[in-house]
């Protein structure tokens, strides 16, 4: 699974996982246990659309700060997907996580810093009934896409957006992708067992690539 033609291990950024900014999409979503099925759905949908999913988890370089790794991934991706589900108070102290808005801010910075022909583009996902307009009204113009926290609602949103980007290729239908999603999740669970829970990002993306449904 994770070896190249010469039996060498494939690393993120090389070979089948070479980074082309035009087809790279940075995924800025929670990846806690509760959100995990949706995170998997987004990563798999992006792969099925011919894009390379990028994440803060892609680099195992612990000598670099997390924010630097994220900024590097965003700046080498033309696209990004941001789910703002977790921006609400949680736990006894009612603290909200601000990583997601911060990373969206990096993407906005990337857009402003780039020439028009290389402008960064993003999709913002929010759960239905999310009060983003009240806490971050600046996003209203970006037409966030609501979902009902199911793979069935999130996959068509992600695919319709990615499939209409200038660098898109022909994509399978969301129905086919949703049918294959459990196989990807099963393969991910198998990899997690093999790797003691810490699946390298490269292995995860290679697994997704092998399970992309054929075009109709």
């Amino acid at each position: 699974m994770s070896t190249g033609p010469q039996g060498l291990r494939e690393h993120f950024g090389t070979g089948n996982l070479a980074i082309d900014p035009k087809t790279s999409v940075f995924i800025n979503c929670p990846f806690d246990a509760q959100f995990q099925p949706l995170f998997d759905a987004i990563v798999f949908a992006a792969t099925c659309c011919g894009f390379l999913a990028r994440s803060a988890m892609e680099s195992g370089n612990v000598a670099e700060s997390r924010i630097d790794r994220i900024a590097r991934a965003v700046f080498s991706s033309r696209y990004s997907i941001h789910d703002l589900s977790r921006c609400r108070g949680e736990g006894n102290e009612n603290l909200a996580r601000f990583n997601m808005p911060l990373e969206l801010g990096i993407a906005i910075g990337r857009r402003l810093a780039s020439p028009q022909e290389d402008a960064h583009d993003w999709l913002i996902l929010i759960p239905e009934g999310h009060r983003y307009v009240r806490f971050v009204s600046d996003l209203a113009a970006y037409d966030p896409k609501p979902h009902n926290s199911t793979s069935e609602s999130i996959v068509p949103k992600v695919m319709a957006w990615l499939a209409t980007r200038p660098d898109a290729v022909k994509v399978p239908s969301p129905r086919r992708v949703l049918e294959s999603l459990p196989s990807f999740q099963a393969e991910k669970a198998r990899l997690a067992t093999e790797w003691g829970g810490e699946v390298p990002w490269a292995d995860l993306i290679l697994a997704a690539k092998t399970l992309v449904p054929p075009l109709e």
Binding site: P156, K157, A160, A163, T164, A168, V169, V171, R175
Partner: protein, 223 residues
């Protein structure tokens, strides 16, 4: 409600109007924002509604012209509608040497080279497409209404079955109490628990809630 929704940029309005004229000359109805948006309407809602209701979504594509932000939204919506409605036809109409955007590249397109004669030909082709595809006997809106009505009937029927089931349990409890309340105590408690915990008001349509409440009161009085 129209046969053909025409998606275009501001720059391509003249082509969209030429296509609309040619189609209307063949009695094919069209929807074009320059002609069909009325004052005070929420334009974004109206455009998406028109796209959803049209049988064909035609995209006017000019060479070297990147889609505007709104056009990209139309692309996304069109693709989503085509996934949810297999009868929806997406039709790229390419001006000169324009290329179709990636999501339309696998669709057969119509190319306009000669602006005097090609619009009539394009209208002829669209007419063929419309007549060749399965003509829906009911429109999308009608279909939605039909499904809603069926759902309402199904919901009503299910609520009735629900109430009948609850009444039956109450009758069973009455019978057990009247025949031998001591020996039947465990069975009565079991049924009572079932009525209290398994039947919930939230499970049924609000319109049926009054009938249910009455039924529940009956079971409470009995206990």
């Amino acid at each position: 409600m129209s046969d053909v929704f025409i998606s275009c940029s501001r720059h391509s309005e003249k082509y969209a109007e030429a296509l609309s004229d040619a189609l209307q000359g063949r009695s094919i109805s069209t929807w074009l924002y320059t002609r069909d948006l009325g004052p005070s309407q929420v334009w974004s809602d109206e455009i998406l509604k028109a796209m959803e209701n049209a049988r064909v979504i035609a995209f006017i594509i000019e060479p070297k012209l990147s889609p505007s932000t709104w056009q990209q939204k139309e692309y996304i919506a069109a693709l989503e509608y085509s996934w949810s409605d297999k009868n929806k036809i997406l039709l790229p109409i390419l001006i000169g040497d324009a290329d179709a955007p990636p999501f339309l590249r696998d669709r057969v397109s119509l190319r306009i080279q000669n602006h005097k004669s090609d619009w009539a030909k394009a209208a002829e082709e669209v007419t063929k497409v419309l007549s060749e595809t399965t003509t829906p006997t009911i429109t999308k809106t009608c279909e939605k209404e039909r499904v809603q009505r069926l759902n309402a009937i199904e919901k009503g029927a299910s609520a009735l079955r629900y109430i009948d089931g609850q009444r039956l349990l109450v009758e069973a409890m009455k019978y057990l109490v009247q025949s031998d309340p001591v020996s039947n105590r465990n069975a009565i408690e079991l049924l009572s628990e079932h009525v209290r915990k398994r039947f919930r008001m939230a499970d049924v349509d609000a319109s049926r809630s009054r009938a249910l409440r009455k039924s529940k009161t009956a079971s409470k009085q009995f206990r």
